[in-house]
Amino acid sequence: MEVGKRLSRVDAPDKVTGRAKYTGDLVPRPHLVAKVLHSTIANGRVKAIRTGKAQAIPGVVKIVTCFDVPDIQFPTPGHPWSVEKAHQDVSDRRLLTDRVRFYGDDIAAVVAEDEISAARALGAIEVDYEEYPVVTDPEVSMTAGGESIHAECPDNVLASMDVRTPMPESDFKTVEEVLDCPSYHQFRGHYQTQQVQHCHIESALSYAYMESGRIVVVSSTQIPHIVRRVIGQALGIPWGDVRVIKPYIGGGFGNKQDVLYEPLNAYLSKAVGGRCVKLELTREEVFQCTRSRHAISFDVAAAVDGDGNLMARSVRALSNQGAYASHGHAIVANAVTAFRQLYQDQLGCHAQARTVYTNLPSPGAMRGYGIPQSNFALESMMEDIARAFDLDPYEFRLQNLMPPGYVDPFNGITCHSTALRECMAKGAQFIGWKALREKYQNQTGPVRRGVGMAVFSYKTGVWPISLETAAARMVLNQDGSVQLQLGATEIGQGGDTVFTQMAAESIGFPADRVHIVSTQDTDTAPFDTGAYASRQTYVTGMAIKDTGALFKSKLLDYAAELLERGAGELDVRNGEIVDAGTGQELLKLHDLAQEAFYSFRHSVHIAAECTHQCKDNTFAFGCCFAEVEVDIPLGRVTVLRVVNVHDSGRLINPQLAEAQVHGGMSMGLGYALSEEMKFDEKGRLLNGNLLDYKLPTAMDHPELTALFVESDDPTGPFGNKALGEPPAIPVAPAVRNAILQATGVAVNTLPLSPQRLVEEFTKAGLIGGKEG
């Protein structure tokens, strides 16, 4: 069995020795360097750009402005394309724009011999603007009137939804009637999440050149096949004229599930006759000009009966989309859907969501895709309800959880397997839940401790909201090993390693006989939409399983020929041909391969390729328990212990699974306590660098504990379910709820930063009051 092993990463030796090549390592010499001129206003129009002085700077090769680029609008999110117009992504971007929509919008670009010439040229370009009032608040943006941010969207509301679950027979006609019914406990709450960024260590960068009349773009992306399509769309050229190559990448977390500067890079190379042009963003540009996590506000209500049953809930979510649609409404739609799914309402749930354009940098996909936001609201709400009505927060959650077999009334996603209850028990036992809850009641003094929890559900992939498709190719080598080619991408998560294990498992090979091709080149890689939605082990895994079965049957057919036996009597085990009944080795695969390649009698190159269109989905689950110490006068929270327990089905590689959980928990801690993109009233990002943006360091982390309860999911190719994104989800509400237990203060806005806590503790009388 190769699946389930703690196999070392297949890319580990190259990565730790520095041999692994990333985009920046591969740029050919000589090459030109491109830099983008970003607007210094957040809303308005470019009236004129004068490039004369910049053009005269030595080393400057070409300057293009928003007035030079083709008048084509294109979409950027890394979604599968839809052949139905109604389901296509919003096309609201141009390569460069004269209509400035956020501070830092792309209005011109310089191509120069080197970075310094390019930077000096940027400084010498003169721009005249017409300025409009800046709107950063979605509530204001919806109602303010004035110039629309996008002409196609006059009220600045990109999209909205209003979904009511079907209600069973009762005296109530609507969810609102239940919520207002005085015989139930009534709860109302407001929770607010902040805009944060992925902080992948490798910048967003690419280089582009022309070859044989086609454009080649090498990019640090999660989605090479989608990047190819969007470059074709953006430049108005046939998609086959574009070739995208994706080497190793230094992190993406969803930011590189968006097409960022690749189309502009391609355009700039074309503009200089196909010479190689590198376009690498600075960290400041990554912050200001690439994607981030949506700030979403939630107004929630619940009715709970005297036995602790959730009777009804409602949620109204408002998502700040910033200047461009990117992944747009899909994020907040996902958020309120998960809000509904995790718990069962006896009577009904009413979810409303709106996505609104403002003059801020555009959020897009980020690990968890809306769920870290709604889970903060939901799990804070569950805690607050338990506290308000004297329910045990653990039991209250348990009592109302999504049951096995649950089918979502709208999208049909089904709970095929769940070990959430077991995860909760395991987490509670690890942290010592009952004893600590007891111990930390009624503390006094400036330093107090508390323990908190949160649970979550997360779907696996995007079906049926979007297409799920993946292809794999396996090619036999002369020595009896196999090349595995995929369109699915290694983005640091360990994809290549688990794909290798899955391929080995499905063929009957040991893992060291599978050679995965890590780089995707859209000219040769099979089609796959890429790394996002925690989909690849599930969807690509199915393609690998199918392809492995086909490849194996071809090996057996050829072995049957050589051995003059029926193929059905044979099997591949541990990489050799054996008698299926006795297990006796009959033929070395090496010998089979030599024959297949070089036989005068029958030469055949054994290879297999399959597409798997996945038409299923399944829920992954998990929980987080956190123990914190709060230094009240300083507003400082120390997380003493934190544990995530996940049900992601069967683990393909427990070691990599743990690593994935550690990374997600780290992201969750930053989300909880310190990370936040801050803007001034002009829409300018104030802290767009890693000094002022408080990504936690190694010194800020407690020991991170990752535990699992493995269900066996009947729909997963190997019993597996989503794991990539989930670890980031439950940490923030668990920490928030622990602070609540420690101090009695419920903080409903993220991040729980020291200044915010000092303000809240002061309001609550813990600072400057009797106890201060």
């Binding site: 080197d114 970075e115 310094i116 930077a119 000096r120 400084g123 006068p633 300083l634 507003g635 310190s674 801050k678 001034d680 104030l686 802290n687 890693l690 000094l691 002022d692 408080k694 936690p696 360091t697 190694a698 010194m699 800020d700 930063s753 020291p754 200044q755 000092v758 303000e759 002061t762 600072i767």
Partner: protein, 293 residues
């Protein structure tokens, strides 16, 4: 790629001074942890540099003079300060403060001289040097002069260095540290790789029975435009019992500091920190001095 006009590597202190006289627009670069960042962000793009990085023979290291004063070469790195046996034996609080700057890489490159010469309020060693009453020896075309650190800061980013003058020695007189113990608290949003939201350094001299505060120094970073001492609070604490001083020092400091409202932290938040941290720094300094706490 850094946009540097040209760089001259000085061969001696007088050579550096002549180079600065020859090119008054040039900037001095030592460890580079500040200047290079400002070049990268464009503020100093294209500027000429005079490097004193190679003058370690003359300007690096910590020693004890014959009369017991601590003499610190301005090219001494944060790390060099922290790990100096002289510092550990005489002014451990300065080594402790130096150890809170940035991360290991920065502390191996950034210098104590640079930390004073850039004139910023958040400099992690500045408040402790204020509390210690350091004497700054500078050398320029007109020769050598000594400036008490109280007169060093002229405004945000501005210090008392004249044209073509270099800081050549930081002196902590024996009387300023003998019998004193101190503690520095850097309050930042992270435990490493961060800039202080507020820094407080407290030095205390206890009575022989360790019950009373004989004398006290309290200095802040980021509680005003430049590092400064709370001289009123210092006077008010002198003569109080340790327990009484612990009660009074926070509110006293709060009255004297003048932090600003910024997007990094509000004035109200910094006032709360100043109050709370003065007390904590004092208690720790007193504990180090032998107070039973």
């Amino acid at each position: 790629m850094y946009d540097i006009g040209n760089i001259y590597s000085a061969k001696s202190v007088p050579d550096a001074i002549s180079a600065l006289q020859a090119d008054p627009t040039a900037l001095v670069i030592a460890g580079g942890t500040d200047v290079l960042i400002k070049i990268r962000e464009g503020k100093y793009a294209g500027r000429n540099l005079v490097s004193i990085h190679e003058l370690r023979q003359e300007l690096e290291g910590v020693s004890l003079s014959s009369d017991g004063d601590v003499e610190i070469g301005p090219l001494t790195t944060f790390r060099g300060c922290t790990y100096s046996e002289v510092i550990r034996a005489t002014v451990p609080v300065l080594g402790q403060a130096a150890d809170t700057a940035g991360g290991p890489q920065l502390r191996a490159a950034g210098t104590l001289g640079g930390n004073l010469c850039n004139g910023i309020t958040s400099a992690d060693t500045a408040s402790t040097q204020m509390a210690l009453g350091a004497i700054l020896r500078v050398q320029g075309p007109g020769g050598v002069r000594e400036i008490p650190i109280d007169e060093w800061y002229q405004g945000v980013g501005k210090v008392a260095l004249g044209p073509a003058e270099l800081l050549v020695k930081i002196i902590i007189p024996k009387s300023h540290y003998e019998g004193w113990t101190g503690h520095y608290i850097k309050y930042a949003m992270r435990n490493a790789m961060d800039i202080a939201t507020l820094g407080v350094s407290c030095l205390v001299k206890l009575s022989p029975d360790k019950q009373t505060v004989s004398d006290l120094r309290l200095a802040f970073g980021v509680a005003g435009p430049v590092p400064f001492r709370c001289t009123q609070a210092e006077q008010d604490m002198a003569g109080l019992s340790v327990a009484e001083a612990a009660r009074q020092i926070g509110p006293a400091a709060r009255k004297e500091v003048n932090p600003r409202d910024s997007w990094r932290a509000s004035r109200a938040f910094r006032l709360q920190l100043a109050q709370e941290l003065s007390q904590r720094a004092f208690l720790e300094a007193a504990r180090k001095g032998g107070a039973a706490l």
